[in-house]
Symmetry: C2
Subunit: 107 residues, 2 copies
């Protein structure tokens, strides 16, 4: 298992809609996350639009990211999510995550 922390950035004024879309996540997208080893996954938001994702990857972040990139539903999800993000038009947020370094862990 690999614990991962990563950063992304949305347009802060879109946070309520971003949260609503995630409250209503497609069941196929949830299934794909489980299938590709995303466990105990939480996204936090800060007022300036920064998102911090915390996830426990069953095998590794690389394997879980690669797994999702092969899921058809994820391509549609990333297209749908793209306008929320502070990224060039059409860019997929899952290709633009900035990984942070783990400096402490206690069970």
């Amino acid at each position: 298992m690999q614990r991962v922390g990563f950063e992304m950035k949305i347009h802060p004024e879109m946070v309520e809609e971003y949260k609503q879309r995630h409250d209503d996540i497609w069941p196929e997208m949830s299934d794909a996350l489980v299938r590709t080893g995303w466990r105990n996954y939480t996204i936090f938001f800060k007022d300036d639009g920064t998102l911090f994702g915390y996830v426990e990857c069953e095998e590794s972040f690389e394997v879980s990211l690669d797994g999702m990139s092969r899921e058809e539903v994820n391509q549609k999800w990333q297209d749908d999510m793209s306008p929320f993000f502070q990224l060039p038009k059409g860019a997929h947020p899952d290709k633009n995550m900035i990984q942070w370094r783990e400096v402490f862990h206690a069970d």
Copy 2:
């Protein structure tokens, strides 16, 4: 249980010593964290000195913070950690955490 994400800021050039101190955390400090409901606690670091703490509080963040503030060992720990942080001299980092908002969670 309450999942919590919070931000703090250290002097980035001090990260290796900060990590070393946490690798060598005092057993009394670990015990106090367990006793006051800090579970699955991870701290991530970004190059500019920002730290992101992820923790699952047994009851609530408020109860866990309040519990630690009453632990004698924590007062010593916070005094020791103070110089690492971008805070007024002597300020305790555990009194200066900026909490982020949870916008998504999947088990």
